[in-house]
Symmetry: D2
């Protein structure tokens, strides 16, 4: 059976992930993501009403025109988890394919939200929920199956999809870290990866997340970030002024820790900001292990009212968890820094960034500016209380040991980001151009 991999998007950048695997006549698409930075560099652009081709030209969504080179039918579109760089282009591209969108329940709910906000295209693909550990048959040959293996990432219900073919398994390895003690959900299913490496024809191809491939060692467990956060918040127990926290809205486990520690130190947590409500609301609705009684406020006007209430009832009784961890100019925290909200920061108030600055100058500049504004109001900054959601080098070594893949395709980075991975894969005996395929967007790699 012919096996081909089309590297559509995310092979020259982080963002707008999209990969298609053809096994005989059947094609499965993994991820359809958005590169938000390509949108934000332009002033005043809203993507909701934009056409796919314009977004492709901007480099914001994957250029899926290479799909016409693949001879076969798309049988499933599989977003691996709910981050925008993996689901953000579904509303622009999925309607072109007559195939269901298959994902874990949490991811499906987020896709639904995306589709509802879309203003240009109508997407009526079926939305199919499948849990980690489950398998479905792909196409009519009876020879191809899709399996979801549970992985751990900075969002809940992330999986690595595996396409089982007669020629071996194709493992799509984006995005994960190797967490044996995640705060929510099951540990990464290394046992299953090891089985897949051993069973049948083994692994034909492994597509790997190279985000941290230039970083030594092991990405720590979410438990380590949780202990770090606990230490920081508990140390503020006696403080009787304002404490504000921010983190990635989609990072449900972290938000959960914030909620719990806020209560431990006698404060009422309130989630503020539109994306806070989207992600945490979804988590609550579908029964994730998440505090069900926490207040969430999404709309601007309600946020203002909530801040007024907080000021009236006493800042010392609350811990607002807000958007703005990267200093985004219009996020709630930045507006607080500018004094544009009813929440009055005072000398000594604490602002906790449970996130790291994404290392890109635009970002670093905005974050610096946001911190400066917060400081001008007297705030004290606690930052970098975080662990990455992506494998570092030791995780890559372990995955190669578990899967023993015949071919490897590094992804989710640019060439410079791939360099560490090429070095480590070479250490394990792979050779560039032979079984280690450094590629770019828009190529088709024939494996069989």
């Amino acid at each position: 059976m012919d096996i081909e991999i089309a590297t559509i998007g995310g092979y020259e950048e982080v963002g707008r992930q999209m990969t298609a695997v053809r096994a005989g006549d059947d094609i499965v698409i993994f991820d359809m993501g958005l590169n938000l930075s390509k949108v934000l560099i332009h002033d005043n652009i809203r993507t909701e009403g934009m056409h796919s081709l314009d977004l492709i030209d901007m480099g914001a969504i994957p250029d899926d025109r290479v799909m016409s080179d693949l001879e076969g039918d798309v049988k499933a579109i599989v977003p691996t988890h709910g981050h925008l760089d993996h689901i953000g282009a579904i509303s622009k591209l999925a309607h072109r394919y007559d195939a269901p969108i298959v994902a874990t329940p949490f991811t499906i709910e987020l896709v639904k939200g995306e589709l509802e906000e879309e203003g240009k295209f109508n997407t009526d693909n079926d939305l199919v929920k499948m849990e980690a550990g489950e398998t479905m048959s792909i196409g009519d040959s009876g020879a191809v199956d899709l399996e979801f293996v549970n992985v751990t990432h900075s969002i809940v219900q992330a999986i690595n999809p595996v396409l089982h073919t007669p020629e071996g398994a194709v493992v799509y390895g984006l995005d994960k870290r190797m967490d044996h003690t995640p705060v929510i959900g099951d540990p990464i299913d290394m046992e299953r990866f090891r089985e897949i490496g051993r069973e049948g024809n083994g692994v034909l191809c492994y597509i790997e997340d190279c985000t941290n491939a230039n970083k030594k060692g092991r990405t720590p467990s979410e438990t380590v970030a949780r202990e770090h956060l606990r230490d920081a918040l508990y140390s503020m127990e006696d403080y009787d002024g304002g404490i504000v926290a921010t983190t990635f809205s989609s990072h449900i486990a972290r938000v959960k820790s914030l909620i719990e520690f806020a209560r431990d130190i006698g404060r009422e947590p309130i989630l503020l900001g539109r994306s806070m409500e989207t992600y945490s609301g979804t988590a609550k609705r579908i029964g994730i292990d998440f505090p069900s009684d926490v207040e969430m406020v999404g709309y601007r006007q309600s946020i203002e009212q909530t801040f007024e209430r907080i000021m009236n009832e006493g800042k010392e009784n609350f811990l607002p968890v807000v958007t703005g961890h990267q200093g985004e100019p219009r996020a709630t925290l930045t507006r607080m820094g500018r004094g544009e909200t009813p929440y009055q920061l005072e000398d000594g108030d604490k602002v906790v960034f449970s996130a790291r600055v994404i290392p890109e100058p635009t970002n670093e500049g905005q974050r610096y500016q946001a911190e400066k504004l917060l400081r001008m109001q007297g705030a004290r900054i606690y930052d970098d209380i975080h662990v990455s959601g992506h494998l570092c080098q030791e995780g890559h070594y372990e995955m190669l040991d578990a899967l023993q893949p015949e071919h490897i395709i590094p992804a989710h980075q640019d060439m410079s980001g791939f360099s560490g991975y090429v070095e480590l894969a070479s250490n394990r005996g792979y050779t560039l151009g032979r079984d280690l395929h450094v590629t770019s967007n828009g190529n088709v790699i024939e494996l069989v």
Copy 2:
């Protein structure tokens, strides 16, 4: 009563700490430390046989000639904890003063060791043990007392000495972090600091450790480093080759964690290297909460024999904890990288640095070299599993809130390192040149 502070050493650098406080006719000296980097830059120098004046000229030990400007008698020499930059010059300088050396039991034991190794001077000052929480009278006036307040640092039994005078307390604040959950010993005694700030005439002067004064936020608890280390070591549980760890020998709590986690993953920990034996042996001997049954090997020949035994019995059964966390050219770990020991590193073996690289180019170069040699033998590096032992900015704010000192003297850094502290103290209302004294080595500050 006249109160003067002589800033003898460590006010232009990290290392060779020494400060004298005169209260009326009585003088107490805090710390007599060594700046090891001033020794190491010269080839083949051994300090044991060197004269004080030569070491002073090299900038290696404090220039205590300013002591002659203080009119009074030295009544006590008080090393605050057992690090070399606080006790390393006692063997060269203490014999000049007719006064006991007063310290916690662990520190006293380490001072004893220093005195035994000294080859040039004979020191017969009394060695007096005093526990954190205890107080002794100084001099004959009956008006001056010395108290030890328990603090938390990267070595056990660290204290901050407080000299109570009729004019208020002089608090010598070197070196600490604010740890409420240290792995060994009691939490920092913030309650007592707050009392000292309130009682009597309050705090006349606070001498502060500025090591991390340019760093935002809060230094995490040792518990956070412990969880990070646990996560790293537990993730290696299935590995059946060699695992080696290194950390600061004096960091008893960290060594304890290494020992415990080694056993948790089914390996026998062995401490290797002379300073490993010195510190851990001392801890064991004086009854610190430390595993009493761990093997320690200090001499070169015994280390070689131990490595041979490890190779014979199987590397997979052991976890050697060795010296060399900074890539020191002659340390055990570096020698392992050079293949000079019987321990054979193999492809995939793990080396865990539970330490961070001290950020100075010489050091960074040596550590890089050591890692490169280890990698050439196939080793995989896990590094930076560590938390600092020194307060960051939020800790400084908390100390100022607790003590409300009348005067502040930043220490334990150079001018550039003081800059963050000056900014934060200014935020709290202190003024440079009036009540905030940025000074240099060899000055006398008259407070009353």
Copy 3:
């Protein structure tokens, strides 16, 4: 005669310089500058209509309330050169003092422009032109004189004012580099500095520009930047598309080099942007050695028309010199990057930044963004063709050797920036707190 120095602004930051020297009953003020970054962090603020007190509260202009502590009359306000951080607060503060503004002709012209744009205050102080090398008497005592010593900086007609008093000279040393081959004007007058160091009572006090005090070596001459620029532009001689350059508008010597090299490679230079017209127009008007026939366009609408003309007549015939070297969001170059001007950038077009990025994250973020936008249009970036206008460490050593001052006051930096200077002055025998005065804004130092 009493001599006091009031360190009013610019002793905790770069920007809003202001220092007053009292000699007996006479006071001279050196500089009244603006800290523009304190304005820009707020959205949509225009300073023209703002009150001094609000600008003081924002930290944008010097807090001159300390002037009331000086017993004497202000006899002259002396801006040392035309940069905004030295003249930008004159329109807000000078009207409070009944004293002439004394400066070199170029500086006076720029001050005039500032006063004309001011919308809140009316300033009718006399504007007095004095050339480098000249001296004027201050006050009625007959004992105090003001002299201008020629220095070299990144703007023409910079001087260091010297106040000669019976107690010795007070030398105000902001801002300069030691340039023996400046492209415009005379070399720095080291001969005169050496004389001042030797004559009479020598130098009582030297106030020094510490901008680069943490940098090794010597700041190169403008000639070096000129050769670098020549090499870059000559290498583009054969290119037949667009070439655009940007630099500091006030850097007349650099603009002159750009004009000359543009012509050497067969292109017509045009200066575009409001501040380009202000500075270069002023230089031309008062007879600086500057190409008199170059076109300058300041207003937005005229700029657009000029770009249209350039496009019509062929980009290959022109070299626009525009504003925007720091990626300022509204500058001409950034607008070109956004495609908001009629000038069409094409693949391969060259953009020359004859400037370095000011190392601050906000700035770095904006500059990165501007470059990214320019690149998205196909532009190729040549950057960092520049030399600093400020002394590095070797220049500081030379100044100390020449002046042999009794007292030194480091300025034009924050504490961290002073650290290198304190170290080098200590090497020359000065002692912190005795004759080396590290201070902050708002202090008065009594020298005699």
Copy 4:
């Protein structure tokens, strides 16, 4: 005619360059270099007596075993210039091939020196001198020619060899910058490169030096470094103590500038150190445009005597140009820092590093240490007076425009270093895996 390229060494690192081109039955080898860092990481290794295979195992010299995969005879070994990473393995590998070594006269002389020092192998290959601009026939087919095109680099007489084949030219582009005003020799021959791009079948393949491929803009001409150096040395004209300079010994143009400027400020230059004598002596001997009357001293004992003479006759009359620009522990300058030579550094003496620190931690550590030792003796450091010898991005664009190659092979870096080149070549329409060949050591690329 078959055309193959064997990428033997220098495709995963900087150092040990070696590439073979097969055109039909004829093979030409470009470069046989040494990676010195792989030798230096081991203590006390001398390569002179070592066997090739051991050096290959250490990664110090190219692994030329892949040559057996090429069907043809080696007709020439062509080192492109005299740097060790291009000629340093000739003494270990050339004897295996029955072919002449063809190079420019200066390079040939340096190769001769290498062969004389070799202690293990006897090399009797013919040494053939060929000048830039000349061509020789390769093999018997009459269809293949070797041409030397003049380029500019940080050593004199560097060339880019071009192998003309019936299928087009193979241009070996290591190492060069685009210098139109070199201080010695002719400018880069861009005219000839443009002709080669246009004539016959054009350029089949271009192998490019990616050293600076991640750097923006244009590498400045040697003239810019010369003006920078002139500015620095002229500024010391009045100093009457010691001035010492260091630079790359092989950088004849820079050494020439040092000699000339030393004399301009009234000092006698003396070149000190073994490699100083090797390179400058060779330059003088073969008639390079170089001061013929300068004193050179190579042996340790003579260097000591020369230093004694300098001290006797007065340091102020000399300018020693010494080895040690990277802080190498045993170089002359480092020994001066340690006080191991008769040359006494005094407070205020100047040390000029006309070189930049090679950015690698081991190196940075050693250089830092050397500077610190020099400073401890009172020396003042002037550093970074240098320009790179390698193309930055704009030079790469220009080369692609001139040559219009069908295939490109990036070299002289690791994967991370290639990343900038891949991006820029992609901008020019090349595609990874199709006509842009990112490869590693030991591969064979079949072009025809």
